[in-house]
Every structure is written in structure tokens, then in C-alpha cells.
Symmetry: C2
């Protein structure tokens, strides 16, 4: 029975990084030719908690935030594990920057919301929760007329975030992937990408 006794020297296994879990569950695909919405490649159940992928390249992943501040709240991260923005490579940093623009365009088209925040938190004092570097893209549907220089708003207010509805998320992610495809097609047509 000794083998079942509590042994304080044995540590529990380290919690796996949730974004690395997502990265390992979703293969990359060409964002200008995304798989069909019902493809196993994009099945939300490939990982727990359910994940709703909008972008999966050899370098980057983007998916819906499971506790969105607003409809369309996205996360963009490198596939490779890195804690903070200072830990990514120069090319990952540039590619994150390039895709923030593409995702922003696709998100505005999908949601019809013209205003949004891009936020990237580094460390606990900066409200980073998942220790895998990521950018938030957060649509801001409330238009508050403001001529004021300084405006208060709560970034991560308790009670503001609601759990994602799974059926709506499947639909929303599909439309964002379609709009990413459209944006990339237009960029290619203009010779910009």
C-alpha cells in the first residue's frame, strides 16, 4: 500500500500550455483557401476547451477568445511557445504585425463594427493570464461620442465577459475565415502581399 501513500516530493505534472495544446491540435492550412467549415481540420472538439480557429499557418494561430469582451473577440499568437513579445523571433514579430492588419480588416467586415482595440499583455502585472504571447483583437460596438482627451474604460472588467456560445462561435469563425480569404485575395490582386 506504500505506493499509494501521499508523497510530498512528487510534484503534479506541469499544466500544459493551453495555446500549445491548440497549436498541436490544428494543422496549418492556406488562409487564402480555408477548409470547409465541417472539415475535421477545423473541428472545435480537436482540443479541450473547444477551439474556434480563424487562422492556422505554419507560424501563427488565431481563434475566438472563449471569454469574449465582445462578439468577434480574437486572439492571435505564434504557434511556437514564447512567453512575452520579447521572446518571439524577429520574423514572428513581423508576421504577427502583418496579420494584425489582415485580421482587423476581416473582423470589421464580419462584425460591421468599425472600432476595435488591439491589446497584448506581458506579465502578471500587465494582466497577462495565459503565459503564451498573444494579441487580443476586441471589437468596440458601443459608440461613445467623445471629445475628451482622456477617457476611462475598463479593459478586463469582471462581469463584462460572457462565455462563448458554441453554435454561434462555429458560424462566426467560418465567416471570419471567409473574410480573411477575401482580404488576402484583394491584397494579392493589388500586389500588396
Amino acid at each position: 500500500m506504500a505506493s499509494h501513500a501521499f508523497d510530498p516530493t512528487i510534484l503534479p505534472p506541469a499544466a500544459p500550455c493551453p495555446f500549445c495544446n491548440i497549436a498541436s491540435a490544428y494543422a496549418s492550412y492556406d488562409p487564402s483557401a480555408p477548409p470547409a467549415a465541417d472539415s475535421p481540420v477545423l473541428d472545435p472538439e480537436n482540443v479541450s476547451p473547444l477551439s474556434f480557429i480563424v487562422l492556422s499557418t505554419p507560424t501563427l494561430l488565431a481563434f475566438l477568445d472563449i471569454l469574449p469582451l465582445s462578439r468577434g473577440h480574437l486572439l492571435l499568437c505564434p504557434r511556437r511557445h514564447a512567453s512575452k513579445l520579447t521572446d518571439v523571433s524577429a520574423s514572428e514579430a513581423a508576421e504577427l504585425g502583418a496579420y494584425l492588419r489582415i485580421l482587423s480588416k476581416a473582423l470589421v467586415r464580419t462584425t460591421g463594427v468599425a472600432d476595435w482595440n488591439v491589446v497584448q499583455n506581458n506579465g502578471a502585472a500587465a494582466a497577462q493570464v495565459v503565459d503564451h504571447v498573444h494579441y487580443h483583437l476586441i471589437p468596440r460596438p458601443e459608440i461613445r461620442a467623445s471629445g475628451k482627451l482622456r477617457e476611462s474604460f475598463t479593459m478586463f472588467g469582471r462581469g463584462q465577459r460572457e462565455e462563448l456560445d458554441d453554435d454561434e462561435a462555429v458560424e462566426l469563425a467560418a465567416r471570419i475565415r471567409q473574410n480573411i480569404q477575401l482580404v488576402l485575395d484583394e491584397e494579392a490582386g493589388k500586389g500588396k502581399l
Copy 2:
């Protein structure tokens, strides 16, 4: 006297964009060989309000926020006018992304503060104040131990921001430029940039 009468059809001149003003007042320089701190190229009085430049390339500008949320609060923007992140070019977006990483490294070294936020606001509803796309880099010196999933913090709280002290700003900007130079030297040594 008719010519001095109030004519409601004559609009006042459009306010010039403050970040375009800064762009036109500061020529670009090689960030891996910045000018001396007392060079006219970097004179804070080249424009009003005073500007404290930490980066000036043919494409990008970075300078101290004049109402910092914390010591070292920086702004990074494209030199060319664009309102929102969706209005920049693909190459500007990538270069912004690449320099967010470089500036983050230089800022952590300069301030000794390991945690920071990167924030980019698009539109009035998202608290964008200056209509020229820019990223904030905001050191977060308060370490608040947090095991909580959701944490409240005020992003742009009234009363949190203080005006920049000019003498301290000159010194701080010089040290950030030096650390950008060091970071770029190290990157070049590693063949990463």
C-alpha cells in the same frame, strides 16, 4: 467692415495631425547609430508640444507619450498618415510588428520593469484620441500577485496620467535610443535582423 463679419460658411482650418507634425519635424536616422543626445536632429523643440524621439526611420517614428501612464510610456506609429490599423500598408504593418519587439526589449532594459502592455486603439469607441494609427507601449511597474482569471484594471483612468517632466524625458529618451542600438547590435550579431 463686411469682411470682418462672422461668416458661418467659412470653416476654421483643419487642425493639423500632431503625429504628422512630429514626422515632418524629425528626419530619419539609423537606429543602430543614433545621433548624439544634443544633436539638432533630436531637439525636443523642433515641434510643439515638445517631442522626445526614440526612433525615427524612413517608415516609423517612436516617441515618449506626453501624458504617460507610467515612466517609459512610448508611442510607435508609421511616419505616413493613416487613421486605423486597417489603413496602413502590408509592409508598414509588418515593420510596426517587428519594432514592437525591439522597442519592448529596449524599454525593459531601460526601465527595469519586466511587465508591460502593448495597446493600439482604433476609433473613438475604442478610446483612440489622435487620429493617426499608433501603438502604446506601457510599462507596468506594479506587480499585483494574481491567480485570478479575470483582473480589472483601468486602461485610461483619469488622474493616472501625469505630464512628462522635460529634463527627465530628455535623459530617458537618450537611454532608450542607446538600448535600441544595443538590441539591434545584438540582433545583427545573431543574424536575426
